[in-house]
């Protein structure tokens, strides 16, 4: 295996990690501020992708599609928060799991009713096709590189939002003491709606960006959702820093595991067996990592007690 290939695979892992971060940051914010566990987060991912595909197909402009997709996911987030989610804040996790599980069913089947069963067409915009030549003979997909860049921008933006703005101050206050900020005269209901919409829009952004690489179809949000949960649990629920570290860790481990696990096993067993056992183990790898981390750090890497 050449050096260039190893670097390329690490970049692949980082790209997966970036995408997971977009999903996980919303999940972890919503949990940190409102104490809500939201299984339906993957539905916003799907909604973003579907709207982007539809708008791109009608206007022919991917960037417009992306913008509308992200906005639409945010708006759907607001509607869902107003109708359902805000009734769940003072409920137990059990009710939250169940209600948002119900939302998954409603969103998935609802999308079937509207779009039917065929996957939608969405492709990478012309200007980002092909690959980029980097030093040391490394070449890497422009579009994936752009996703990594976008992830870095979002991470910086979130950092500035939370540390520098009034909204961020309220979010931090909300994480520490929910009653307190209500008493301080902050409109807590609006704050919650905004935070939820922000999370939904980030998920929509992830779905729209990834939709161009993968297939836009019902159920596309579920595998990503489960991985995003692994990420926030590893990072510590409620911690944006944890979400970032967890996302990159999961992305890189999952990607490299898929490639290196079979290659390692092939040294001491027949190739076809090594292939199937290797890929069996690598598919379990991130869950094993999560269980191991939780066994030693029950609140994740950066979780508050």
């Amino acid at each position: 295996m050449t050096f260039a290939l190893v670097v390329e695979q690490i970049l692949n892992g980082l790209q997966l990690g970036t995408m997971l971060f977009l999903m996980a940051s919303g999940l972890t914010l919503v949990f940190g501020v409102m104490g809500l566990i939201n299984l339906a987060h993957g539905s916003f991912y799907m909604a973003g992708a579907f709207v982007t595909a539809t708008v791109t197909a009608t206007t022919g402009n991917f960037w417009l599609g992306l913008l509308v997709g992200v906005l639409a996911a945010g708006v759907i987030g607001i509607v869902v928060e107003l109708l359902v989610i805000r009734r769940l804040y003072d409920r137990g996790h059990l009710d939250q799991v169940l209600a948002t599980f119900a939302l998954i069913l409603i969103f998935s089947e609802g999308t079937y009713m509207i779009y039917g069963s065929s996957p939608l067409f969405l492709s990478v915009p012309q200007e980002l096709r092909g690959s980029l030549n980097l030093p040391f003979g490394i070449s890497y997909s422009r579009y994936r590189m752009a996703i990594i860049g976008m992830g870095i921008l979002v991470a910086i933006g979130l950092y500035l939002l939370i540390s520098r703005t009034r909204l961020g101050m309220q979010i931090r206050a909300g994480e520490n003491d929910r009653e307190m900020i209500g008493a301080l005269g902050v409109d807590i209901k609006t704050l919650y709606t905004l935070v939820f919409a922000l999370g939904a829009a980030l998920a929509g952004l992830a779905g729209s960006a990834i939709g161009a690489l993968q297939s836009v179809r019902v159920g596309m949000g579920e595998p990503v959702l489960i991985m995003a949960f692994v990420v926030i649990v590893i990072g510590g629920i409620g911690s944006i820093k944890g979400a970032l570290v967890g996302a990159l860790l999961v992305g890189v481990v999952d990607t490299l595991g898929r490639i290196f696990m079979p290659l390692t096993l092939v040294t001491f067993m027949p190739p076809s067996q090594a292939m199937s056992i290797g890929s069996a183990i690598s598919s379990m790898l991130i869950y094993i990592m999560m269980a191991a981390i939780l066994a030693f750090r029950p609140h994740g890497l950066f979780g508050a007690k």
Binding site: S118, P119, V124, S141, R217, V224, R258, S272
Partner: protein
């Protein structure tokens, strides 16, 4: 209850049946109408029903249920079909794992099963049954033909990949059964995987001269999209399952130039096929996939045997009529081997621009003539 179910399904045929008629033939269709793989079931159903409607045979009563691609649900639906609906013939299953869960017990209860899609190796070999007929193909067929084609075209170093599950390993085994040269690599991916960046990097670095993949449904769309985008230019080959008209529509130009094997093509020139494709487009406003042709052929086979005998009154005569396969297939020539699986030509198609801004499959040749599955020897029929 029964009546409301059928009305709810909007089956005009079923709804008009109020009492069982003497010649009524009850057909139970369990197929996948929801989930990732729904377009396969929808096309099988639409193809099947088109043939039934065209025949004007009002004795055939088709009861359709959705299995949601879940083996346990398929199983309970099949007991509903057998025990409550008293069906004579069953059909419709798309997936091999569902087929293995349902078919052995159904055929043992004296019911005929005509498979419009799934063809697991066990049912072609050691577990074959006189009441089981496969109208589509044994699962390995298209992969085998592609192995042959890649060999014939002089490729010497293909990179092959499939998901790590039984149909995936069967696909690669089938490919290697006829392609006996060197391999650049053999990779198993995760079932349901949606990001193939890591595998594509491996492929590009492997020095392969061709890529063969079997990734059904959404997996194939993701792979091909990302592959085309990565700037890789190694030619791609696959079975038609990865390149049916619906998938080609979702892929757009990413799929241009891909070669795939199929037992049928929408531009195959014979009278039956031309009439079928035209009628299907007329009725549903889309080009049929191979699954639609399989559903259509299955119904045609059933109708041809019903001309001879009723499955309950004279099962032996009905079975003989099925074996004779005396119907006009959309594939041109069609006959059964001794294990009641097809012996048929496997064609090669290429994905090209259709001239209206979209893309479509075009027939370019024949990969194997009179292809028969490798398991027929294990079957003692």
């Amino acid at each position: 209850m029964k009546q409301s179910i059928k009305l709810g399904l909007g089956l005009a045929i079923a709804a008009t049946m109020t009492v069982a008629q003497a010649n009524e033939v009850r057909v139970g269709m369990i197929t996948t109408l929801s989930g990732d793989g729904a377009h396969l079931g929808v096309d099988v159903r639409d193809g099947f029903m088109l043939a039934i409607e065209q025949s004007g045979n009002s004795d055939v009563n088709v009861i359709i249920r959705d299995d949601d691609q879940r083996p346990d649900l398929a199983n309970s639906l099949s007991s509903e079909m057998v025990d409550r609906e008293d069906v004579h013939v069953m059909t419709g299953l798309i997936w091999s794992n569902l087929a293995m869960a349902v078919i052995p017990s159904v055929t043992r209860q004296g019911i005929f099963y005509l498979s419009p899609n799934a063809g697991p190796s066990d049912l072609a070999g050691r577990m074959c049954h006189e009441n089981y007929f496969n109208v589509a193909w044994q699962n390995d067929a298209l992969h085998e033909a592609m192995g042959q084609y890649v060999r014939d075209q002089g490729y010497e170093n293909p990179y092959i990949l499939a998901p790590n599950y039984p149909a995936g390993t069967d696909a690669l085994t089938g490919f290697k059964r006829y392609y006996d040269g060197e391999l650049a690599n053999e990779t198993y991916t995760q079932l349901g995987q949606s990001d193939y960046a890591a595998e594509i990097s491996q492929i590009r670095a492997s020095g392969a001269d061709s890529v063969f993949y079997f990734l059904p449904g959404g997996m194939g769309i993701s792979f091909m999209n990302q592959y085309a985008n990565s700037g890789a230019d190694i030619p791609v080959f696959g079975p038609a399952f990865s390149f049916d008209e619906v998938i080609v529509g979702a892929l757009g130009e990413a799929a241009e130039g891909v070669i795939n094997t199929s037992q049928w093509a929408h531009d195959l020139e014979n009278d039956t096929n031309e009439a079928f494709v035209a009628a299907f487009r007329e009725e549903h406003g889309r080009t049929p996939t191979l699954y639609a042709s399989q559903g259509y052929d299955t119904a045609k086979l059933l109708l041809s045997a019903l001309e001879v005998a009723h499955p309950e009154d004279d099962p032996d005569a009905f079975r003989e009529a099925l074996r004779a396969a005396d119907f006009a297939s959309t594939r041109g020539e069609f006959r059964f081997g001794s294990n009641q699986h097809p012996i048929q030509d496997i064609y090669v198609r290429e994905i090209v621009a259709d001239g209206n801004g979209g893309f479509t499959n075009r027939l370019i040749g024949v990969a194997m003539e009179d292809h028969q599955d490798a398991y027929v020897g294990d079957c003692d029929l």
